[in-house]
């Protein structure tokens, strides 16, 4: 399903949570929606899932507006970092509700995942630890098989082995049942290789949307003697630069080949670093 965002804004008083944001997500990809706290990620996901109205602009999914749109809401599953389920419900009842709501729901998968994460169907939501609640969120998020599945920091409190298990299961299932998966997370290093495309938000605006492979191909980390680095950077868009005792190190948009020919040491820029520097408050570059 194609998601089209056009001049989307959301304001709370003087605060522009989203400021005329436009982009398109073609669908059937794993997207990384990145940005610092307060960049507007959660606001966007709330509007996308039809739970909030934009102040202006619009968002359409296959041409339709998602707000309180029954056909669309059953195609979108949003798993947040907390409070996905009412505390008084038993896990068994949570599954029932999801099964009723999502037409593609896979009960068998849900039960397998509960077992994988050691969750008992008879347990009440309020008795679960933070990590267990997250595991339940992941279980329902995956088993809903919604054409658009959104995970907003879904693994708070989960330990590293459980997170790894989640990535394994997600990749496996995504290949069997391709769908749009939007990931918003601060644990970028762990998941960046799973992203097919990355969107970076800063203060309610999109600062970057690019396929991960393109991004790796067109950003470089260069280092070498200061004058050589200077010469290379002359016509480049610089992301970040540091100088130390006659040598320089810089992240920039540029080709690996040109940098190598300029006699510089060349590496790639990890997505995590890119996110940090593109969303810093102010930098000379």
């Amino acid at each position: 399903m194609e998601i089209k965002v056009n001049q989307l804004s959301k304001t709370y008083g003087d605060n522009h949570a989203l400021d005329q944001v436009s982009f398109t997500l073609e669908g059937n990809k794993i997207y990384g929606l990145l940005g610092r706290n307060g960049a507007g990620k959660t606001t966007f996901m709330d509007i996308l899932s039809g739970q909030m109205l934009a102040s202006s602009g619009d968002i359409t999914i296959d041409g339709e507006n998602p707000f309180e749109n029954q056909r669309l809401t059953e195609s979108i599953c949003l798993i947040k970092e907390a409070n996905n389920f009412s505390p008084e419900l038993k896990i068994k009842q949570v599954l029932k509700i999801f099964a009723y709501f999502y037409p593609n729901w896979d009960q068998e998968m849900a039960e397998e995942l509960l077992e994988t994460f050691n969750l008992k169907q008879s347990a009440k939501v309020k008795t679960l630890s933070k990590g267990m609640e997250s595991a339940l969120g992941i279980t329902t998020g995956l088993a809903s098989r919604a054409p658009i599945t959104v995970f907003d920091e879904p693994y708070i409190g989960m330990d590293a082995p459980s997170r790894k298990m989640f990535y394994d299961i997600l990749l496996d299932d995504y290949q069997e049942n391709p769908r749009t998966i939007i990931f918003s997370t601060h644990l970028i290093d762990e998941v960046s290789l799973m992203f097919e495309e990355v969107i970076i938000l800063k203060k309610g605006a999109v600062v970057l949307q690019e396929s991960s492979e393109e991004l790796r191909a067109k950003t470089v980390a260069v280092s070498g003697p200061k004058d050589k680095v200077d010469a290379y950077l002359v016509d480049k868009d610089i992301i970040q630069r540091t100088d130390l005792a006659g040598s320089s190190m810089a992240y920039a948009f540029g080709s690996r080949k040109e940098a190598e020919e300029a006699g510089l040491e060349v590496e790639g820029v990890p997505v995590q670093e890119l996110m940090i520097h593109l969303t810093e408050k102010k930098k000379g570059a």
């Binding site: 394994d168 496996d172 995504y174 290789l193 799973m194 992203f195 790639g268």
Partner: protein
């Protein structure tokens, strides 16, 4: 097979190189089945489209062949194609960096040649 990928290099190229390396060193021979996109994606926890891109390029170059419903297979010509390709990039990947480093160290051509000869003697080539 490497245990982890280098996040600093294009991922699809690394997938490609890994298969090529296995073909060159004989761990994957002509006619044998190569790991699938899914297997790579799961093993390295990477996006399947990325793994697929590396594999598709190998298909285009005639190194792998897709057999519908069965998987990817190494072609009979694979090894000679890879070797030919690697020879062409040998200059860029090995000779050029070596020359650059030698220049930095102010080594002249004769010194380089001497070094190569010494290496040959030491390892009996």
């Amino acid at each position: 097979m490497k245990k982890e990928l280098d996040e600093n290099k294009p991922i699809f190229l690394q997938i490609k190189e890994q298969i090529e390396d296995s073909i060159i060193d004989g761990s994957l021979n002509g006619g044998e089945r190569a790991p699938s996109t899914n297997e790579f994606a799961k093993f390295y926890q990477i996006n399947p489209a990325t793994a697929g891109k590396g594999i598709n390029e190998l298909v285009l170059e005639g190194i792998l062949i897709k057999k519908r419903g069965v998987g990817m297979f190494v072609t009979e010509e694979a090894k000679s194609i890879v070797i030919e390709k690697r020879k062409q990039t040998f200059y860029e990947n090995y000779l050029l960096p070596m020359k650059r480093e030698a220049e930095k160290l102010e080594m002249d051509r004769q010194e380089l040649i001497n070094m190569l000869n010494r290496e040959d003697e030491a390892h009996g080539n």
